[in-house]
């Protein structure tokens, strides 16, 4: 009967109230102005002859004939694929061991495993150079003991390592969620039939967790492919996203190559998403048994146990290395050609707080506003899709999710091209007005906020709303007194994800910041890190970012737990 009644909710009433059209119209306007038009502009410009005007494929021909671009393309694909591979190596053992075995500190590992996400990858770049670079701590020690030097951070290797460390939590989280949703009887029956150890994992556990893995892996691929700041900070310029940035900033908005590269970025991102969708179609294995007693965790013995602890320790040590390096760097007086800094000081933090507190305030302001906007739009779309029959509601959902496939560089370029000519009353160009950074961040974070709001709304049974209407509450009051409080958890989760990721975002921001006084923390960090003298303050700024994001994440978990303890599942 449940399925029937939820279907009925959507069909109740014959005519659609005007208020629903207003909400849908506002959402559509936002998406068209700040996602559709800018992206369409970028795509169209890529196909226009810069001199003669009119349609042409010459720009693409130029792109494919250019050695630098082709090498950049190859590098981007290679780096993304390798980052996925290494991310898998980091994530799978952590996910499997903590979810299937009795493991001391499993919760701690799950938490620490997510920590890399809350640090901007470029923030750790310099720290990682100092730890793993040619003259970094690790190679200095290796050199002393074995007289070898491992090129962890040389060229593309550095980008791969940093990206893998930063993004592997996406795989960890998705695979863990998949594993948690698999009926334990699946594994128990395999064990009952004589399977164990690696065969059990490769034949039963991993295939069942495949949908989660593919979702996580494709996300990592796209993120790495589109990332701009990390390669730039490591001084790797022959990758696609940096090339697009360099063309636009050095040659100008009229150069078609930046737009062609943008189109390539979009196409590859969408292709990756499409492949992931195809690969997991019809393979939703979530099979939690009814009234099941949770997952039985197995006991590990002897050598297995030692190996497992060693593996987990090694992975965590490596993935937390950027944080350790960043802390040391932010406190170091001088740190060069030595395993650890020569001395320690707090002056970098003092310098950051006196010289550039504006970066911090800008970040808090932008990320808060972006989070609020993305949650408002996200929950409006979730509500329109799930609770109304308004025509075209699904299109809004697809559009908003489509932002996932649009790299930050493309959004940045699109805004500049579309809104540069629009001037504000003050005479400033709309494209360089600080609020456009907020909008760009909100659009970029919208998919996350939308997913969280959708999940939050799905957990609210339509019967809860009907019960309120039955007892005399109007639709508006039902939304306020029943729906919003019950959705609050999902909305909060959406806000925090959007806030945390927006506060360390740099791709779109790098294109849009025209004035240092409008710059957020991530941009400031980038500027600091350009010079050796700025490394210390830059690291201090990075630590502040980590603390802000970490605090917010903790706060949201705390709030969600408190909320959850008082709820029933329907």
């Amino acid at each position: 009967m449940g399925a029937i009644s939820s279907q009925l909710v959507a069909t109740r009433g014959q005519s659609i109230p005007i208020s629903q059209y207003l909400v849908a119209g506002a959402v559509a306007l936002f998406l068209v102005l700040f996602l559709v038009i800018p992206v369409a502009t970028v795509i169209i410009v890529a196909f226009i002859d810069p001199r003669a005007g009119g349609f042409t494929l010459v720009n693409f021909a130029d792109f494919f004939r250019n050695d630098l671009f082709m090498r950049s393309f190859g590098n981007s694909v290679y780096v993304s694929a390798m980052a996925v591979a290494w991310g898998t190596v980091f994530a799978l053992p952590l996910a499997y061991i903590t979810s299937r075995f009795q493991f001391r500190g499993a919760v701690l590992i799950q938490t620490l495993g997510v920590v890399p996400l809350i640090m901007p990858p470029f923030a750790g770049a310099v720290a990682m150079q100092l730890l793993f670079g040619r003259n970094g701590s690790f190679n200095l020690i290796l050199g002393d003991w074995f007289d070898i030097n491992v090129p962890f951070m040389e060229g593309l290797n550095g980008v791969i390592l940093l990206q893998a460390i930063h993004y592997f939590p996406f795989i960890l989280l998705n695979v863990s969620a998949s594993l948690a949703n698999i009926d334990r009887a699946m594994e128990e029956s395999a064990q009952n039939l004589g399977s164990s150890g690696f065969r059990l994992f490769s034949k039963i556990v991993f295939p069942l967790a495949m949908p989660g893995y593919v979702a996580g892996a494709s996300l990592v691929f796209i993120k790495v492919f589109d990332d701009l700041a990390t390669p730039l900070l490591l001084n790797v310029k022959d990758m696609l996203a940096p090339q697009a940035y360099l063309r636009i900033t050095s040659i100008g908005l009229s150069d078609p190559m930046g737009y062609v590269i943008s189109v390539v970025l979009i196409v590859v991102s969408m292709l990756a998403m499409w492949i992931a969708t195809m690969a997991t179609r019809g393979r939703d294995y979530a099979t939690v048994q009814r009234g099941g007693g949770g997952l039985a965790k197995r006991e590990m013995k002897g050598l297995d146990k030692i190996i497992a602890y060693a593996v987990v320790f090694l992975i965590l040590a490596l993935t937390l290395a950027p944080h350790v390096g960043l802390i040391l760097l932010s406190l170091a007086t001088v740190w060069s050609f030595s395993p650890v800094p020569d001395g320690y000081t707090l002056t970098h933090y003092g310098k950051v707080f006196t010289e550039s507190p504006l970066f911090i305030w800008n970040t808090l302001l932008y990320a808060t506003l972006a989070g609020v906007i993305s949650v408002i739009i996200g929950s409006a779309i979730a509500w329109l899709v799930q609770r109304t029959k308004i025509p075209g509601r699904q299109i809004l959902d697809y559009l908003a999710m489509g932002a996932l496939a649009v790299p930050g560089v493309v959004i940045g370029i699109g805004y500049l091209r579309t809104y540069y000519g629009v001037t504000l009353p003050s005479g400033q160009s709309l494209a360089t007005f600080w609020f456009m950074i907020v909008i760009a961040l909100a659009v970029r974070r919208l998919p996350y906020a939308l997913r969280a709001c959708t999940a939050g709304l799905q957990q609210v049974s339509p019967q809860l709303e009907e019960a309120a209407e039955n007892l005399g509450a109007t639709k508006a009051r039902t939304v306020r007194k029943i729906l919003l409080p019950l959705m609050a958890g999902g909305m909060l989760a959406g806000f925090v994800t959007a806030f945390a990721t927006a506060s360390v975002e740099l791709s779109a921001t790098m294109m849009l910041v025209q004035n240092t006084s409008d710059a957020p923390l991530a941009y400031g960090l980038y500027v600091y890190m350009q010079s050796p003298a700025g490394r210390g303050p830059g690291a201090a700024l990075g630590m502040i970012a980590v603390v802000i994001v970490g605090l917010c994440t903790y706060l949201s978990h705390w709030l969600l737990d408190r909320e959850r303890s008082g709820t029933v599942k329907h």
Partner: protein, 364 residues
């Protein structure tokens, strides 16, 4: 107590007039006409998909019919939104709001009616006392058992003193033992409150035990309305006969010979149809297993006797159930078990003896 007096005074009849409802091409409710009397405990009974929940939700205002109207206490409420109808509904899932305490859940409807705080407190307390849960007022719904949640859902609904109480399969989420207890409590509460109550269920035992009258539904059509006894004794058609209790249904043809009619069982005996009993060309012979008797016999069936072989026997304690092959069909007969008497064995020939007033000729 206040609630009882108020609900008794407000109890209203429900009239459903010529209602049709479709979802796209699916015609879910077909020309429904129905009257529920004030203070009556009424059931919509039928298999899943028969439209009973749709009809209930129509009365609550969650579905809108393409034609027809719903009247409560003489007023046409068809165009009112759910929040202006004053019909209390207890949902199948109870739909208790997890973010509110039990007391806040119960107070909700009164707050929506802008009733002064002291009166709300008094009425919430009275409603919770009514379902013996006043000691759990400050708990969250998740801290209650299934039976307690169900009682909170009932309290939350009756506290607004609705004109009609709607119960959507309220027992389906309870275990078997609780179900028997709760249905009795529901009946007692309904009697005390004098509330017009409509109860949706697919379980004939539930409907029989607590309802005054039942509307049996199938395929979007009300098949028959009556008391449980009427439906059992005088089913209007084959569906009702088969849905309420066990029934033997024998196919055959009605033969007319002047004023005398007979029923020719397909591949079997021919029985005279008692005078005054309705039977049309498409009729089948229907009788309850316990309304027939078995007599041992030696010869194979001839003429107007229902004679056949016992093919299966089940001892049920109070009764013995025999399956008897009659021509191409098989009938079930239940005979009271008398201590010391001998049972008929599988393979023996018997005559199924059926009193004329126990026969019915029904069509679909």
């Amino acid at each position: 107590m206040a609630i009882e007096a108020a609900t008794r005074a407000r109890a209203s009849g429900v009239m459903v007039e010529d209602v049709n409802l479709s979802y796209g091409a699916t015609h879910v409710l077909k020309s429904i006409n129905l009257e529920v009397r004030p203070g009556e405990f009424f059931a919509f009974l039928g298999p899943s998909g028969c439209g009973k929940t749709t009809l209930l939700r129509l009365i609550a205002g969650f579905n809108i019919a393409q034609s027809g109207r719903v009247m409560i206490g003489g007023d046409d409420i068809s165009s009112l939104p759910p929040w202006k109808r004053d019909v209390g509904m207890v949902f199948q899932s109870y739909a208790l709001w997890p973010h509110m305490t039990v007391a806040k859940n119960v107070a909700f409807g009164l707050e929506e009616r802008r009733i002064p705080k002291p009166e709300i407190d008094r009425r919430v307390k009275a409603a919770l006392e009514l379902v013996s849960l006043d000691h759990l007022a400050e708990r969250r719904p998740s801290q209650l058992s299934g039976g307690q949640q169900q009682r909170v859902a009932v309290a939350r609904t009756v506290v607004i003193e609705p004109k009609v109480l709607l119960l959507d399969e309220p027992l389906s989420n309870l275990d078997a033992k609780m179900r028997v207890q709760v249905r009795r409590e529901l009946r007692e509460l309904q009697q005390r409150l004098g509330l017009t109550t409509i109860f949706v269920t697919h379980d004939q035992e539930e409907a029989n035990t607590i309802c005054d009258r039942i509307a049996v539904m199938n395929d979007g059509i009300i098949q028959q309305v009556g008391t449980p006894m009427e439906l059992y004794e005088k089913p209007a058609n084959l569906f009702v006969a088969g849905f309420l209790g066990a029934a033997n249904i024998l196919e055959g043809d009605v033969l007319a010979d002047g004023a005398d009619r007979a029923f020719q069982i397909r591949g079997g005996a021919r029985l005279p149809i008692p005078r005054g009993l309705a039977a049309d060309a498409a009729s089948r012979l229907v009788f309850r297993p316990q309304y027939a008797e078995l007599i041992r016999t030696n010869c194979a069936g001839e003429g107007d006797a229902l004679t056949g072989q016992v093919v299966h026997r089940e001892f049920l304690g109070a009764t013995v159930r025999y399956s008897v092959a009659l021509g191409s069909s098989e009938v079930t007969v239940e005979v009271p078990f008398q201590s010391g008497s001998s049972l008929i064995d599988v393979g023996e020939m018997v005559t199924v003896s059926l009193a004329p007033d126990r026969m019915q000729f029904l069509s679909a």
